[in-house]
Symmetry: C2
Subunit: 372 residues, 2 copies
């Protein structure tokens, strides 16, 4: 399957060097050096209908050295780019953005200023600037976030950093942890015989299905991001989508949070539009829990939870999102509002402990009862 590569590393170093050299040339010529950075504001985020992904537009901003309002940020950008390049050249381990902040935070000799004083308002935005500027994800720059998910099923991966080969049919009741980076220089998909990927919103549901060996009986990959997924699970699902070419189904709560989590896996999110382009999985389908399932499977009334004011407000908001504009979703959202209740995916045990694994999921998948 996919072959691993360190090409990214070389390309990134080359790209960062290129940026640096251009700046140097401009300085030598007596010009005002600057970099051009794609805007990450809401006005430059759009939903690409044909790709079904949230994307970043073409608007850019200039950041110049000889500009009182931009000078500090310009220098921070240069410091950050130089540090990322150095860490890559030295083949250092992946770090968190906080660790990188600490590496770069220091006083400037002769000045009262620090290079950086705050992570969330200073160093993190500059990292994001560099990501979009050179068109690589932070994980490819060797910067990682905390992963959350676990998975099981007939897939074998090779960890290129440690040479370990991990067989996700042998990971016990724990399942195999999703690593902080799932990029190709770390994670190589060696082998996969799964017929589909089932992404489960909640750990409790994943845990029940995993114990029931659902993945074995149904020959699938069973993945959970434990609620709202971290970057690693989103990117992993995107790789599954692109490389395995098998169907991907999401199983979430029938409530606004469930819908939203599905849409984050599928289309991405507005506040991480750049990441979303590379970590969305447009072919993912919403398996459930869906409004028609309530009657179809005769879900007991004791499992229904009344919608509160906040739910109803969020339902209206979600129904205005471009990616929920399809008729099937508009119908679904309208029906939920009329129904007046939400239903959690964990509630299906009230039918029977084996109901989800033996009746619900097989019926939905066999009859292709999905929302897209």
């Amino acid at each position: 399957m996919a072959t691993t590569t360190n090409e990214n590393r070389e390309s990134i170093i080359k790209s960062l060097k290129g940026t640096g050299n251009t700046i140097l040339d401009e300085l030598n010529k007596g010009d005002n050096p600057s970099v051009s950075i794609p805007l990450r504001t809401l006005s430059n985020v759009y939903f690409d209908d044909s790709d079904q992904l949230i994307k970043l537009g073409n608007k850019k901003q200039k950041r110049a050295f000889f500009n009182a309002g931009q000078s500090k940020k310009f220098m921070q950008t240069m410091l950050m780019a130089a540090q990322i390049k150095e860490l890559l050249e030295q083949n250092q381990p992946a770090l968190s953005t906080r660790q990188l902040y600490y590496i770069l935070k220091h006083s400037i000799p002769g000045l009262k200023e620090n290079t950086f004083d705050d992570q969330s308002t200073e160093s993190d935005p500059v990292i994001e600037d560099i990501e979009v500027m050179i068109d690589y994800l932070r994980e490819q720059l060797n910067l990682v976030a905390v992963p959350k998910g676990v998975m099981s099923g007939p897939i074998t991966i090779k960890d290129m950093k440690t040479d370990d080969v991990i067989d996700y049919t042998k990971m016990g009741t724990a399942g195999g942890a999703v690593p902080p980076s799932v990029e190709k220089d770390v994670l190589q998909i060696k082998d996969c015989s799964a017929d589909y990927v089932l992404v489960v919103e909640k750990f409790a549901v994943w845990n029940l299905l995993n114990q029931q060996k659902y993945w074995k009986k149904n020959n699938c990959i069973l993945l959970t991001g434990k609620g709202q997924p971290a970057r690693a699970e989103r990117r992993l699902l995107a790789r599954f989508g692109k490389e395995l070419k098998i169907p991907i189904y999401c199983f979430c709560d029938m409530d606004v949070y469930g819908y939203y989590i599905y849409s984050v896996y599928k289309q991405g999110s507005i506040n991480l539009a750049f990441f979303s382009e590379k970590a969305g999985t447009p072919q993912a389908k919403y398996l459930g829990f869906a409004i028609d399932d309530v009657k179809r499977f005769d879900i007991p009334r004791s499992s229904w939870i009344k919608l509160d004011k906040h739910d109803i407000k969020r339902l209206s908001e979600v129904s205005k999102y471009d990616w929920f504009k399809k008729k099937e979703w508009q119908d679904e959202l309208k029906k939920i509002k009329e129904f007046g209740y939400k239903i959690e995916s964990d509630a299906l045990v009230a039918k029977k402990i084996e109901f989800t694994a033996k009746e619900y999921l097989p019926h939905k998948i066999e009859n292709k009862l999905f929302l897209d």
Copy 2:
């Protein structure tokens, strides 16, 4: 090493049956049936100085059937105990307490009442009552919470539910996920050659050490609960403490949250006193980051973070806890207050990326520079 056993299951079923039969006898005799439940209120929680653990005292409350104020809760307790017993007898998979709530929540024929209407105020407290009543943890009753942690190092476990043998030296950059239950009927320690266990508060620090193969070079188990640990990591560390008989060191931030997380691993927590007795690790030592390390290792000023009002208030609170009453801790807390800054464990990369793995940890461990 430890041999696995289903004895617990049999004992629990027996104990629950015993409770039920006693109630039946009382009913047949025309008595007012009742159960006696150890109190879980603050007034019945104490710090056991000799065991160095937070424990539940001996105070009990009676819950009777023929008592207007207790009747509903009595019946809920009986329903819950019967359901737990049935699930154990049927050898069902482990469930979350929310799933169990959904199984039990239903209308009562002929009445307008439901068995349970809320999880956090009704069914969860009753589960806790049953835990303390029969002196078994909910994990032993087959009820599990969401685990968070990962680990690596020279330890091999056998998952008794799946028969998988998991070697934590071969888990790649992900590390091996901690399963939701680490009880003996699930997790058997097959083999461990580690010299000590290093528990790391933060995932970013764990991730750096794991990539640097710290566990291999120093022959240890490297575990993180990703901040405040879940039940599974606390219980796993307790098992390591009891069964492996090797030193256990905690590496946290030098701030009140870091101290608190250390104390949760070591002594437990007040709000889960019953769990703490069984999931505390009294022999755990605080390796750092400690106030004397600032000078000892010449930590750059740019890594210091000024204590805010909230930090100072929490420092005073923590210094009054029984388990921080030892002179060494009182001195430490006093010195931090005087110093006026906190230092995060991830900040040590500012010294050098390999500083933590190659200098800090080996020096601290070799010279036994711990707080107890």
